[in-house]
C-alpha cells in the first residue's frame, strides 16, 4: 500500500511528501468502510439469493419503490442500511447477571479480528510508475498466509468470551461448540493451504498469486492452484464455511437448537458487530480462496496495461482497477457458492462435524499435501525452480 | 370379545370384585374400585384379553355424590375394546394407579387429578398437568367456579 499511496499522492499534488502514518490511517479507513459497505451488500444479496432459492422475493419495499417494479433484483436496496441504523438506535441492554467486562469485550474482540485479517490480503497489482509491479495490499506480509490463519483463530476467543460472559446456558453451549468447531477445523484448513504453499514456495499471498499467473509446468492454464491442489481447495472451502459458522456448520448459533447461540443475550450495536464480523469473515475466506486457489486478480494469459489511453480519456492505474474487478468478481462467485450451499443443506450434528473434520478432511488434506509436494518436485526437477 | 362375554370370565377370576353391564354403553362394564390394579393387569396380560393399548382414561362428574372413572382398553391382537367404569365418592375420590401397567396412564392420571381432583395412590409423580402448579380447584367438575370463568349466556 505504502509505495502506491505515496506515488498516488505525489501524482495528484505534485511532489507532496506524506507523513509516515498517513497510509496506515487511510488504509484503516478504507478497510472499515469496505467492511461496512460490503457486509451490507452481502446481507442484501444473501436475502435476495435466499428468496430466489425459496421462490420468494426478499426485501422489496425498502428504498425507491419504483425500482422494485422493475425486477426482484432492483428492489429493497435500502434494506440493510435501514437494518444497520435501526440496530444502532436500539436500546443497548447489558443484562444484570452477565460478566460486564467480558460481555462488552467480546464484540470488540471479534470486530478487531475481522479488521486485522484484511492486512495481507492482496486485491490487485499495479505497474504504474513503479519499476516492477507492486502488489496492492495493506501490507503484503511475507508470512501473509500464516498471519491470516492465526488472526481468524482469534474469533474463537471472542465467541468463547461472549458465550461465557453472557451467563446464559444457550450462549455457553454455543460458545463451547464454536470453540471446538473452529479448533478442529483449523488443522485441516492449514494443511489444505500447505499444498499451495509448497507449490509456490512462499507464504506471501501476493507471491502466491504471481506464481499462479506464471503457471505450472510452463502451462499458464494449469496455473490456478485449484487444478493441482483441487482436494486442498475443496477441503479449504468446507473448513472455511465451518470457520465462519455459516450453515450447514452453524452449530454455534443454531436457531432451532440454541436459540441464537452465543449472541442470544446481545442487543443492538453489540449484536450488529457480531453480525458484521460474521459477514466480513465470510468475505475474507472467499478472498483467501480467490487469492490462493483462483489466481487472485489475474486471468490466464491476460496482462492489463498500466494505463488506458482512449485518446479523449486517459485512465491511469488501469491495471489496478482491472485487477480489482477481476478479484472481486471471483470472490463474489465464491460467495454465491457459499450462499447456495447455505440455503440447500440441513445442519450437521456436532459429533458428525467432528468425525467429518478429523476422519475425513484431515486425511484428505494430507493427501493433497502429498500430491502437491510431488508436483512441486516435478516442477523443480524438470522445469527448474519454483513455478514462479 | 364383547363385555357380556367378558363378564362371566371376570366374575369367576375375581369373585371379590363386583362387575355389571352398563345400560348406557353397550361396550362398557361397571366395576367396583376394589379390584382396580389386579383386573387391569389381568386384562393386559391374559392371552384371551390382550389389552395392550390403553386408549384413554378420563372421569365424568356426576354431582352431587358420584365421580365416574372411565378406562378404555383396546386390543390390537383381537381387535376388541372394553370400557371399564369405576364409581368413586365425589368428596374424596381415591383409586390405585395404573401407571405401572401402561406408560400413558401416567399422564392420563395426572390430567384427571388436575381437572377432577381424583387422587391416584401409588402414582410416581402426581402433579398438575394442564393448569399452573398453584391453581386452585378442579376445573372440569360441574360446580367449578373461578373469577376468570364467564359462563356462556344461553
Amino acid at each position: 500500500m505504502e509505495p502506491i499511496f505515496e506515488q498516488f499522492v505525489r501524482d495528484l499534488t505534485g511532489g507532496f511528501q506524506i507523513p509516515f502514518w498517513a497510509p496506515m490511517l487511510v488504509s484503516l479507513g478504507l478497510v472499515l468502510a469496505f467492511i461496512a459497505l460490503n457486509a451490507m451488500f452481502m446481507i442484501w444479496l444473501e436475502r435476495k439469493i435466499c428468496g430466489r432459492i425459496q421462490r420468494r422475493l426478499g426485501p422489496m419495499l425498502t428504498g425507491p419503490k419504483a425500482w422494485a417494479r422493475f425486477s426482484m433484483w432492483t428492489g429493497g436496496w435500502f434494506q440493510t442500511p435501514c437494518d444497520s441504523v435501526k440496530l444502532l438506535l436500539k436500546e443497548d441492554i447489558v443484562p444484570a447477571q452477565v460478566d460486564r467486562f467480558g460481555f462488552m469485550l467480546a464484540p470488540v474482540l471479534i470486530f478487531m479480528a475481522a479488521l486485522a485479517v484484511y492486512v495481507p490480503l492482496p486485491i490487485s497489482s499495479t505497474a504504474h510508475g513503479q519499476p516492477s509491479p507492486i502488489v496492492v495490499a495493506v501490507a503484503d506480509l511475507d508470512i501473509g498466509l500464516l498471519y491470516v490463519v492465526a488472526i481468524t483463530t482469534l474469533t474463537i476467543l471472542a465467541i468463547l468470551t461472549a458465550g461465557w460472559a453472557s451467563n446464559n446456558k444457550y450462549s455457553l453451549l454455543g460458545g463451547m461448540r464454536a470453540g471446538v468447531q473452529i479448533l478442529s477445523y483449523e488443522i485441516p484448513m492449514l494443511f489444505a493451504l500447505m499444498g499451495p504453499m509448497v507449490l509456490a514456495g512462499s507464504l506471501s499471498l501476493g507471491d502466491l498469486v504471481l506464481v499462479q499467473h506464471a503457471g505450472l509446468f510452463g502451462v499458464p492454464f494449469l496455473g490456478w492452484f485449484l487444478v493441482p491442489s483441487f482436494l486442498g481447495a475443496v477441503v479449504y472451502l468446507i473448513c472455511a464455511v465451518a470457520e465462519t459458522n455459516r450453515p450447514p456448520f452453524d452449530m454455534p448459533e443454531a436457531e432451532q437448537e440454541l436459540v441464537a447461540g452465543f449472541s442470544t443475550e446481545y442487543t443492538a450495536m453489540r449484536f450488529a458487530m457480531f453480525y458484521l464480523a460474521e459477514f466480513s469473515n465470510t468475505f475474507v475466506v472467499c478472498m483467501i480462496f480467490t487469492a490462493v486457489f483462483l489466481g487472485g486478480w489475474t486471468l490466464p494469459g491476460f496482462v492489463p496495461p498500466g494505463s488506458l489511453n482512449l485518446g479523449f480519456f486517459h485512465l491511469p492505474y488501469f491495471d489496478l482497477l482491472a485487477g480489482m474487478a477481476i478479484f472481486f468478481a471471483k470472490a463474489y462467485a465464491v460467495v454465491l457458492l457459499l450462499m447456495w450451499i447455505r440455503w440447500t443443506f440441513p445442519r450437521l450434528r456436532p459429533d458428525h462435524l467432528m468425525t467429518f473434520g478429523w476422519k475425513f478432511l484431515l486425511p484428505l488434506s494430507f493427501l493433497n499435501l502429498l500430491i502437491c509436494t510431488v508436483l512441486a518436485a516435478v516442477q523443480q526437477i524438470y522445469f527448474g525452480g519454483n513455478p514462479g | 370379545m364383547s363385555p357380556d362375554e367378558f363378564l362371566p370370565t371376570l366374575k369367576t377370576r375375581f369373585p371379590e370384585v363386583e362387575f355389571q353391564l352398563d345400560p348406557l354403553n353397550p361396550r362398557a362394564l361397571k366395576m367396583s374400585a376394589s379390584g382396580v390394579p389386579e383386573v387391569f393387569a389381568w386384562l393386559r396380560d391374559a392371552p384371551e384379553a390382550a389389552m395392550e393399548f390403553l386408549e384413554f382414561s378420563t372421569a365424568v362428574d356426576h354431582p352431587p355424590d358420584r365421580l365416574e372413572l372411565v378406562y378404555s382398553l383396546y386390543s390390537y391382537t383381537h381387535r376388541h375394546r372394553l370400557v371399564l367404569k369405576v364409581d368413586l365418592p365425589r368428596h374424596a375420590p381415591t383409586i390405585p394407579t395404573l401407571a405401572h401397567l401402561w406408560q400413558n396412564a401416567d399422564w392420563n392420571e395426572r390430567e384427571i387429578y388436575d381437572l377432577f381432583g381424583v387422587f391416584f395412590s401409588g402414582h410416581p409423580d402426581l402433579r398438575r398437568l394442564m393448569m399452573p402448579e398453584d391453581w386452585e380447584g378442579h376445573p372440569l367438575r360441574k360446580d367449578y367456579s373461578h373469577p376468570n370463568l364467564t359462563p356462556r349466556p344461553d
Partner: protein, 198 residues
C-alpha cells in the same frame, strides 16, 4: 430508553430545534418501520397463519421483516394465538426482555379479547393488552395472511407517526373485513376510548 429519549430535550433548547427534529423524526421512524424484526414465537392457530405469511406466497421478507429467535434482537412481537394464564407470565417476561423501541401486534380474536374462549374458558387470558401494551389489534380467527400483512403495514404507519420523546398513539384495530386499514386521526389519544370488541 436512554439517549434516544433525551435527544429532543437537548435539541429543543437550541434555536429552531423543533425544525431540526422533524427530519430526525422522519429518518428514525422510516428506519424503524422498514426493519421490523419479529420474534419467532407462536402460540396457537394464528401461528400457522404467521408461518404461512412468512412462506413463499405472502413473504414477510418483502417488508424487511425477518424473524429472530431471541427477544433481545427483535423489535416486534406478534402474539399469535391463545394466551393462557399459564403462559401469560412468560409472554410478559419476553416483552420485558425486548429492547426499546418495541412493538406488539395482537393477532386474532384470542389475543384481542379471548376470542372463542371468552365464555367458559377458565384458563384463557382475555386480552393480551391486560399484560403488555399493544399497538395493533388484528381481528379474525385466525386472521388471513393478508390481514396480518395489513396489520404490519398499519404498524409501519403507526411507527411513522412517532415523535421522539412523546407517548405513542392509540392502538389500531384492523377490522376483519377486507380493505386497507385506516388510522383514526383527529382527537388526541387520551380522548379516544379503547375499542375492545366482544
Amino acid at each position: 430508553m436512554g439517549l434516544m429519549d433525551r435527544i429532543p430535550a437537548y435539541v429543543d433548547r437550541l434555536p429552531g430545534g423543533s425544525v431540526v427534529m422533524a427530519p430526525v423524526d422522519w429518518a428514525i421512524n422510516e428506519v424503524q418501520a422498514s426493519s421490523m424484526w419479529y420474534m419467532l414465537f407462536g402460540l396457537a392457530c394464528c401461528a400457522i397463519e404467521l408461518m404461512a405469511t412468512g412462506a413463499a406466497r405472502y413473504d414477510f421478507d418483502r417488508l424487511g421483516m425477518i424473524f429472530r429467535a431471541t427477544p433481545r434482537q427483535s423489535d416486534l412481537m406478534i402474539v399469535a394465538g391463545t394466551l393462557t394464564l399459564k403462559m401469560a407470565p412468560r409472554v410478559k417476561l419476553l416483552h420485558e426482555q425486548m429492547a426499546e423501541p418495541r412493538y406488539v401486534i395482537a393477532m386474532g380474536g384470542c389475543t384481542t379479547y379471548g376470542g372463542p374462549f371468552y365464555h367458559d374458558g377458565y384458563s384463557v387470558l382475555k386480552g393480551v393488552d391486560k399484560i403488555i401494551p399493544v399497538d395493533v389489534f388484528i381481528a379474525g380467527c385466525p386472521p388471513r395472511p393478508e390481514a396480518l400483512l395489513n396489520g404490519c403495514l398499519a404498524m409501519q404507519e403507526k411507527i411513522r407517526r412517532n415523535k421522539l420523546g412523546q407517548p405513542r398513539g392509540p392502538a389500531i384495530h384492523i377490522p376483519p373485513t377486507a380493505g386497507r386499514f385506516s388510522i383514526p386521526s383527529g382527537s388526541p389519544p387520551s380522548e379516544r376510548d379503547p375499542q375492545i370488541p366482544g
